[in-house]
Amino acid sequence: MTEITRRRLLAAAGVGAAGVGLGGAAGYLVGSDDAQASDGTGSVPFYGEHQAGIDTPAQDRLHFAAFDLVDPSRAALRELMQEWSVAAAEMTAGQMIGDANGVELAPPEDTGETVGLLPSRLTVTFGFGPSLFERREPGLKGSRPAALAPIPPLPADELNELESGGDICVQACSDDPQVAFHAIRNLARIGRGTVVMRWSQLGFGRTASTSRSQETPRNLMGFKDGTANIKAEDTAAMDRYVWVGNEGPAWMRGGSYVVTRRIRMLLEVWDRSALEDQEQTIGRDKYRGAPLGAQEEFDPLDLEAEKGGKPVIPVDAHVRLASASANDGERILRRGYSFTDGVDQSLGELEAGLFFICFQRDPRKQFVPIQQRLGSNDALNEYIKHVGSALFAVPPGARQGGYVGETLLD
């Protein structure tokens, strides 16, 4: 039987750069420069202290999925996380899943659509939702962190239950959309009989930069988004706002909590509002990205500045309400993606918006109060609806030979 590998096929196809990235990937000895190469050759190690896909410089594409357990036994869940971790490690290294891909009579283990594609900085990040801990089986009630409290109803929520929640989440990010899709598809297949997919979301473009090396991208409203985001290089901020420390159960140390919100943008309404209204709504210059009243994108917000007796940055501007100073100094790591899912059949309008993702140390102190403030007062609410919501505890990374979730399940 001929052994088939993504690598061999790449070499055969004569992909010039493949040798560099893949050579490194094979032994997980990828240096930080290689890992960050966004030309496809970069490969992000799966194993490590923290799960990848949080402090990794945000990749261009997303496929996010939430699953529900159908076989709730502890043994089945453990086996699932073990198999998922092995497969995720193979995929992030740019390898095919499994070893049975050339048996004539068997369906190939890997579905095959990434053969010939580069690792493309794929990261696969797993999380556990509150509902997983509420089930009688697998008996995790006692391990539930207090920080994993369900998100309370928030102002301006219009949530659809089938686009919300879930027992387990998988975030797959890559610079190649097919590589991200392939990850979710294959993990869903591996999980059949143990989990079923509850909802999934594709994101076609990143709306956040999580590294100083990255340009700030624009969201679908045409504004730079995430200028004031936490950057991975700021390790003090990562430790203070993102990584779980000694608080709560030991199994979450080095982990984080992710909140996702499917935010539908009413683009047709937005597009017919005047430039001045748009800028007043956001609180930034549309093209330069600078805060109103300032010159450059990264100039600090001057929330005190007034002109003609009125604040330069309006009291209901999005940047003001989302700023750390308006939120008792609290910040979150944003890692969202723009999405579109065809036409909203009831309106005949584009079904599009922001799939908001944020990581933090404690959602009760970070996302929830921030969104309570935004949901009540943000001028942006006129143009958006929150239609999906989910929260997951993201455990620490897996050691070589271990698996994600080992700290909880063993």
């Binding site: 039987m1 159908v70 049975a100 048996v103 004539e104 009579l105 068997a106 369906p107 297949r189 059949r192 009989g193 079923v196």
Partner: protein
């Protein structure tokens, strides 16, 4: 009838099987196998006709420089028993079959003389198939014949009611005739156009060729009449009788039986759970259960083979069959099921997920029981 072409037809499976035997497990042919060599030329296959003793036969084919012919098929009547495709200039390949005495067709499409005869004589010795495989084949053959007999028995009164113009009676008898067919559909599909004649949906075939069960179903439920259906009904009965005769001579192999189980679950996913199969009568859950029963019978036939190789998988599959039946249970009404139209999206989603879980496991079986 599957709207999509069946991913891995029984015939193609036989080829996959022999390819594995030839290259995967051993470089050697089955013990005592007769070798037959063919060359592909512009004329077709050379030699065009030949003979061999009954038992295992290895077909070795080489393209001797033709672009007109790239394929060889060994057929029994309309059924393809084995084939090798895509042999372009300079390529060679092989496959093997175990054949009983009789005349078979060697078909090399594209050649100027594209058909020849393979005469197989004598008696096949006991080397053909290990005891478990023989047992699997015998058990499944008996199931197959039982169901084609039942198909004819149940189709007769249904056809009679249609011819008599008794719409109410025909409607009442329809489901019972569908069940035995849906249990063994993959085998019916191996006989050329017999499956489309019996089971095509309206969009599967050209309008003038639309006959069989679903043409009558459309008349009874959508048009509420049996008018004009007598010739269709007579043809249907003749076709199921032809099927009953043909299955008696069908060549079966264990991996083929196991793959038939996968095809049946593929049918459930593609057309039963979507309500496309019985789009006028909405008895899709009846077909759903029949497909699952057929898959289970095929699985049970090969289960002893599987249990030797992978007992854990065998146990998992047994449990998953139970899960599927349990998921169907709430929709059972008397002898039948609720109409497909009564199912909510959440209902069909749950059923589809149960089938996906079972089918993922079942798809591992053919490779496990060969080699």
């Amino acid at each position: 009838m599957n709207r999509f072409s069946v991913r891995l037809s029984l015939a193609a499976l036989a080829v996959g099987l022999v390819a594995l035997l030839a290259t995967g497990c051993s470089e050697d042919a089955p013990p005592g196998a007769k070798k037959l060599s063919f060359e592909l030329t512009d004329a077709g296959c050379v030699p065009n006709s030949t003979s061999a003793p009954a038992g295992p036969i290895v077909f070795e084919i080489e393209n001797a420089g033709t672009t007109a012919v790239t394929e060889i098929e060994v057929m029994e009547g309309d059924a393809i028993l084995g084939e090798k495709e895509n042999l372009s200039d300079g390529l060679s390949g092989s496959f093997s079959l175990t054949l009983d005495a009789g005349d078979y067709t060697i078909y090399c499409p594209g050649g100027s003389a594209d058909e020849g005869t393979l005469s197989v004589t004598g008696k096949s010795d006991a080397a053909a198939g290990a005891p478990d495989e023989k047992g699997a084949i015998a058990q499944y053959r008996s199931y197959l014949e039982h169901n084609t007999d039942e198909l004819v028995e149940e189709t007769e009164p249904f056809v009679a009611a249609v011819i008599a113009g008794n719409v109410a009676k025909a409607k009442a008898l329809y489901a019972a005739a569908r069940i035995p067919y849906e249990r063994i559909e993959p085998v019916a599909e191996s006989f050329g156009d017999l499956d489309p004649r019996i089971d095509a949906r309206e969009n599967d075939v050209q309008a003038k060729e639309f006959g069989g069960f679903h043409r009558i179903e459309k008349a009874l439920w959508e048009e509420n009449t049996a008018k004009g259906m007598a010739p269709v009904a007579e043809r249907l009965l003749a076709d199921v009788e032809e099927l009953e005769q043909k299955v008696k001579h069908v060549n079966l192999q264990a991996a083929q039986i196991a793959n038939g189980a996968n095809e049946l679950l593929g049918e459930v996913s593609a057309s039963k759970i979507t309500g496309e199969e019985e789009r006028y009568s909405h008895i899709d859950l009846v077909d759903f259960e029949a497909n699952v029963e057929g898959a289970e019978a095929a699985f049970e036939a090969v289960e002893p083979l599987l249990s030797k190789k992978d007992p854990k998988l065998a146990k998992e599959i047994e449990a998953s069959f139970k899960d599927v039946y349990a998921a169907l249970k709430p929709y059972r009404r008397g002898d039948g099921f609720v109409s497909y139209t009564e199912l909510s999206k959440a209902d069909t989603r749950k059923l589809a997920q149960e089938i996906d879980a079972l089918a993922e496991e079942l798809s591992q079986v053919p490779a496990q029981i060969v080699g």
